[in-house]
Subunit: 350 residues, 2 copies
């Protein structure tokens, strides 16, 4: 243990904290003309690209709990959720700005580990920290990360653009993050839970998968799954004024869920629908090419992708086919503000 | 009073909150290709420009106090502090992303008024809100704003670039914000305090002044005064490895301070040096043209600008000439983390 391991941020002062951060995030990037330490970052931008910008705030006790996630996990995830949003428009993330509000008595080490986790993920995706902001807060830790990226002028996807008949493709497998959290909260032990918890703590944003979708030109709309398949799918339907027929049997779930779900008195599909924090991509695609798009994602990136349903006219409504029955698809995921969550829905980490 | 005046954010739910925000910030902007409501914003960027990005976090009880500043003031200032950072590199602010974490029981009206205040300032400077993020927090309100802007490839200024002999030019008058806060905290009444409080609540970022400085090509370095002249000037000296000779008699202070300072048992210069939250610009400029730059700012924008000192070799140190004496210039402003502030320094709003 080094001497500074016991320092609190109030001992180090702003300059001391900035020095620690500078040591971690100072990676050379030729596109950063003015970086950390000045009033604002000045970045090179390219003529044939469009700028992508997104932000996501993480609050201790709401989005993460310090007994479940270490500071490195929090840093990783604070960046990951933003990279996922850039992925959802088909963009390439490039730069990040990090706002961090912490109590003065927080160990300096916490900030160091937070930035290390964030930087680990940033290095994986070529994302450089170019600015940020530190503040004290008489309350929970708040980490707000903003990510800038770029996308070709004619390639970006949005939530709208889907048409009747488009198939829905989802990347990866769903439910792991929610299942891990629920198991952890209820003290359920078992093989595989540690791996699921690792998925929960350090989700991998689907940047490359989003690029394949955008470049294919078969995708018509895209959204990332942050609040649960049911909630985000209904958002996609709302945005396009369409209904949906979701094939419950086709929804890909993490294999470890099958055993775990029973012990949680749920089905794997329940976990996938209510889930949340999967950070997979949900893609609407031309029916002629949806299967081909799924294969291409699998081949080019190595991530499975699956056709799970079809967008239909709004009159047909939003339904999920499960166990031979057609049930209304309800939003069972997360509402950041709602007093009482939907019946049976999980609570956010808190 | 309208029926929804009593709604809490937890009654409205996320969709209700977003609807209120959408009504306020939905201004047409041809450069916004994908705006609020999608995963990430997609923005037009220009070939001959460089991208400017900055972020600043405001915490209730630390950066603002709800008994002194209304939600509209908080929204205004959360944007203003970022526009000031864009101004400090000579940039033109264009777009904003807003992260807001609030307790579930907060009146919905608070968020509405926050966005109205932010939008009022945004309209003045042509800045459009293109994204954001809402979260609940079991603690103080946190508002984190990121601003994107642009600057010509060959015009941007930074904190470094100043040379021995460069003169220091400051825009506007200093100390008003700090004096207002101090008077308010100590219950000091008097003519003019309301006006000073208005300056504290709704500072005007010096965007146009920064543009004049950048376009003049006489400025060599620039920084905005957010933490007090003494602190920010020493930062400028540090960044350039230079000393400074500050002419205390030349430092422009708000006229209302002269009377108020005495009642606070301070001098106007003390308030200007310790101050903070002035959001004026401090510009290092070629000695041949510093006076001309000050005049040009006055003529083109209508804001006074004053030469207040000279950058010297580091061996000469950092001194302030006051009342015929040469005193060491000390950092008397704000450190976001330091346990005990510098002797006699004000506390941040707290």
């Amino acid at each position: 243990m080094q001497p500074e391991d016991n320092l609190q941020v109030q001992d180090a002062g702003e300059a001391g904290v900035l020095e620690v951060i500078g040591r971690i995030v100072a990676r050379p990037d030729p596109d950063v003309l003015v970086g950390i330490g000045d009033d604002a970052a000045v970045l090179l931008s390219r003529a044939d690209r469009r700028l992508v910008a997104t932000t996501d705030i993480q609050v201790e006790g709401v989005h993460f709990r310090s007994d479940l996630a270490g500071p490195g996990d929090v840093g990783w995830k604070a960046l990951a959720v933003n990279l996922s949003d850039v992925a959802a428009v088909g963009g390439i993330p490039r730069h990040a700005l990090v706002s961090l509000a912490v109590p003065p008595t927080l160990p300096l080490r916490w900030i160091e580990d937070f930035y290390r986790g964030l930087e680990e993920l940033g290095t994986l995706f070529g994302v450089t920290v170019v600015g940020g902001n530190l503040a004290t807060i008489p309350g929970p830790i708040v980490a707000d990360v903003m990510v800038l990226g770029e996308v070709e002028a004619d390639l970006f996807l949005r939530r709208t653009g889907a048409r009747v008949g488009d198939r829905l493709v989802v990347t990866g497998v769903l439910g792991a993050s929610a299942a891990a959290l629920m198991a952890w909260e209820r003290g359920v032990q078992g093989a595989g839970i540690e791996r699921l918890l690792a998925v929960h703590r350090r989700p991998l944003p689907r940047v490359h998968e989003g690029r394949v979708a955008a470049r294919s030109r078969w995708a018509t709309a895209m959204i990332d799954l942050s609040d649960g398949l049911s909630t985000d799918l209904l958002r996609l339907c709302d945005a396009n004024h369409l209904g949906v027929r979701l094939d419950g049997a086709a929804v890909p779930v993490d294999p470890a869920l099958r055993d775990l779900a029973a012990r949680l008195h749920l089905t794997s599909l329940d976990l996938a629908l209510r889930g949340g924090e999967d950070y997979e991509l949900l893609i609407a695609a031309d029916p002629q090419h949806a299967e081909e798009l799924a294969q291409r994602i699998q081949e080019e990136v190595g991530t499975p992708a699956t056709v799970i349903g079809e967008l239909v006219s709004p009159e047909e409504g939003c339904i999920v086919q499960r166990e031979g029955r057609r049930l209304p698809l309800e939003s069972l995921g997360w509402d950041h503000f709602r007093r009482s969550a939907a019946p049976g829905s999980r609570k956010r980490p808190s």
